[in-house]
Amino acid sequence: MSTAEPGTAQERMIGRLPTSVALKVLTSGVLAGYEPMPGPERLRRSADFSGGAIPGGEAEPIRLLCDEAMRRFRDESPTASDAWLAPRLHYTLRITRAEAADSGLWNFLAMCVAPDFVRWRWGKDTEGDRRAVGQAVRFAGPWHSQCFSRLWWAAELFRDGPDYGPVEIACRNQDVLNTVLRQELVLHRPAAQALVHLLQSRVTTTGREVNGLAKLAYAASATMIYEVLASDDPQDADELQDWIDAIGDAVEAPYDRLPDGPDDGRVDKGSISTLVEWFERLAAVAPVRGKEILAESEAPRPEGVSLAKTGPGL
């Protein structure tokens, strides 16, 4: 633990705030907006700046992005800001997946850099000018729930090399962010791109449909290996590292067009279309929550594929 001295570079740096500290601060009174959250200076004293989770990472650019998001989407639902912020956060932060796995980083952003943004994005107006946040996990929580971490991971898993376009499409859909993001299916890049393709082409028009489809596709992947059907080249780790190292020279994320991500390899087009085709076959039979699910016997199935879990065990 180190202490931030006024006037030092540390004041501008991104550190790591231990989850135990974060959760101690996030009392129900603080979440409900009855009590103030301790100021960033107090919390910074509990943060760890050693080892450099993000060498040279500065907090200011993230702060500016949050300010712009709140300005841009002030007349819309804050939910709409996800698709705008996710690629720009990913572009601005420039970290590896190993670094992103450290929840201290995300706690720090939510509590020391932009607590007001978290409150704006996840809070609800309550009587007496309070804005209450229902769950502490939006400040400090699992990767798929925390305010900033979920956006970063969505950008990482849905980007097509340097192209953040698919990230925007995926993040416009809260079902993708809330549910599909957590499924192992999207860890295979061609599968993630194929899902985005279907979202875009409106084969699956609603989030619920995409949920149902992702579930079916994942269930089918227990016996059908998408990595073999639709292969993916490994991403270029050196390109990624160069991009990360170039953070000092990089221009700020543009607000009105998408920035360029790391050029570490595009997903093979042929692999995407193989899976698009396969998912379309599944989509034709995808059960949708809330709709009546076709009786097992009536549901047409892609030939040769039985999702029924019967037969001999391995």
Binding site: M1, P18, T19, S20, V21, L23, K24, R45, S46, T96, R97, A98, E99, A100, A101, D102, S103, G104, P142, W153, L157, T179, R182, E184, L187, H188, A222, T223, M224, I225, Y226, E227, V228, L229, S231, P234, A237, L240, Q241, R289, G304, V305, S306, A308, K309, T310, G311, P312, G313, L314
Partner: protein, 321 residues
């Protein structure tokens, strides 16, 4: 739960072996690999590597492979790391006689903690390509924290002076405390409790050893119990299906659930517990079961019985003087 296959699959063993370890193009010694435990210990290279290549081979029964109702069998090695959400496959080359060989590649920015290495044999079956017909009988674990290649996992222990630490000062008199909220659980031992470190790390007299053994078992069982509770709270139900929390939470649950519910599968057990939690039951029965499972994991019965025996021996030795 094991996947059931609606088509024929290999019935024989699929043997995955890690043969060779190369760190940044420099071959490493054998003792980092344990074939018996299926673990590759990578602690030694911690922080000082860019790329690790592990040469693996996969062997299946050549006769069964040739005779089966499938065609064009191929084999891939699969690297999974739940914390960095990596799921990479590496195509292995056929070496004849039911053997495939090749390299898996681990890259620094993509790995953390430990990753799992599996092998999948895939073929065309009944006109469908990409069918899984076999997975490694035993998976391997490449552990970036482990000093020795064993499956036994240890949790991080840190000595801290609780009175000096801004976050621990409210617990200043506690001899130990588990932080189960961190990405990996950390056990803090309070160096301001006089004599604690001496007994735990350097017990020399028989009396000290008795205290150490009992205390160590106590610490372990409390740790297991609170890790289990933290892991339970990290689990969820969705559409009536239980969602495993992943990471260490999942490891702890999978290890302890068979002792919490002796008569249920881990998935059924977890579903039951999550339901009970959300229905707002008192949790009395659960805590009793958790205590039992934690006692078992920490080998407390053995430690307590051993300590009592030593005490009796010490007493009779005194009498006979």
């Amino acid at each position: 739960m094991k996947t059931l296959f609606p088509y024929p699959v290999l019935s024989g063993e699929v043997v995955l072996v890690a043969d060779r370890l190369v760190v940044d193009n420099i071959p490493r010694q054998w003792k980092a690999i344990s074939e018996r435990e299926h673990v590759i210990a990578l602690h030694e290279v911690k922080g000082r590597w860019k790329e690790i290549r592990i040469k693996v081979s996969v062997t299946v029964d050549a006769g069964e492979l040739a005779a089966g109702p499938w065609s064009a069998p191929t084999c891939v090695a699969v690297v999974r790391n739940p914390r960095t959400r990596i799921r990479h496959t590496f195509t292995l080359a056929p070496a004849g006689n039911g053997v495939w060989e090749g390299d898996v590649e681990l890259r620094r920015g993509e790995q953390l903690g430990a990753c799992e290495i599996d092998a999948w044999v895939v073929a065309d079956v009944g006109g469908e390509s990409g069918r899984l017909i076999g997975t490694a009988s035993e998976r391997w674990r490449a552990d970036f924290e482990a000093r020795t290649p064993t499956q036994q996992r240890s949790i991080k222990m840190v000595w801290k002076n609780f009175t000096d630490d801004i976050d621990l000062t409210e617990f200043r008199d506690d001899p130990w405390l588990l932080d189960a909220q961190a990405d990996d659980p950390v056990l803090y031992l309070n160096s301001s409790v006089e004599g604690l470190r001496g007994v735990l790390e350097n017990a020399t007299t028989p009396e000290q050893k008795v205290v150490r053994d009992v205390m160590a078992a106590q610490i372990a069982s409390e740790t297991w119990a609170s890790m289990f509770n933290a892991a339970l709270y990290a689990s969820d139900m969705e559409d009536g299906e239980v969602q495993w929390p992943g990471g260490w939470h999942e490891d702890v649950l999978k290890r302890m659930l068979p002792d919490v519910f002796a008569d249920r599968s881990p998935s059924e057990g977890l579903a039951e517990l999550v339901e009970r939690r959300t229905e707002g039951q008192s949790g009395g029965d659960l805590q009793r079961r958790v205590m039992h499972a934690a006692t078992f994991q920490s080998r407390k019965p053995k430690a307590v019985a051993g300590a009592l025996k030593s005490l009796a021996r010490m007493a009779s030795a005194k009498e006979s003087v």
